[in-house]
Symmetry: C2
Subunit: 92 residues, 2 copies
């Protein structure tokens, strides 16, 4: 299932760890705080479990995980430029 | 159609204008840089046109607009706290 993960994390270091974790699961960064990718149902559960573990001691975190249909992705509109990011989420 | 808008905008003032515009279109903020809401097809086109107009002179903007099925929204997972924001996107 195509999966979109968007997050709102105040702490820079934690945000970087979350990004690194999502990347390690094969998701692709599409914005500074958004990743997308194909995940099997079991993998989605393990990604969610991993995220909960990563942020368990933080009170300023909101992460939302959306299962997407292929049509949702294919019909998305992109306005503006395509950014590229380094591993810390800074613009290249 | 349920519509998710996520954005990555470097400029604070422009980001605030985009947020205000999305709010004026009846979308609801779910993260600092993410809004969601129901839009008729024509309204979605006019939201996209309005966004393009707002950011037309900026080269550091990426906005992505996803049409979502109700199932995508109902099956989303939320990890962490629910934030509340003021009109400038700062945490309350």
């Amino acid at each position: 299932m195509l999966t979109l993960v968007i997050y709102d994390i105040t702490d820079d270091e934690l945000r970087g760890r979350v990004a690194g974790f999502l990347k390690s699961k094969g998701l692709k960064r599409i914005q500074k705080s958004a990743f997308i990718g194909e995940l099997a149902d079991g993998d989605r559960a393990s990604v969610e479990a991993g995220l909960r573990l990563l942020v368990r001691n933080s009170d300023r975190v909101n992460i939302q995980v959306f299962p997407l249909t292929p049509a949702s992705y294919n019909r998305r509109s992109v306005i503006g430029v395509e950014y590229r990011y380094d591993d810390e989420g800074y613009l290249l």
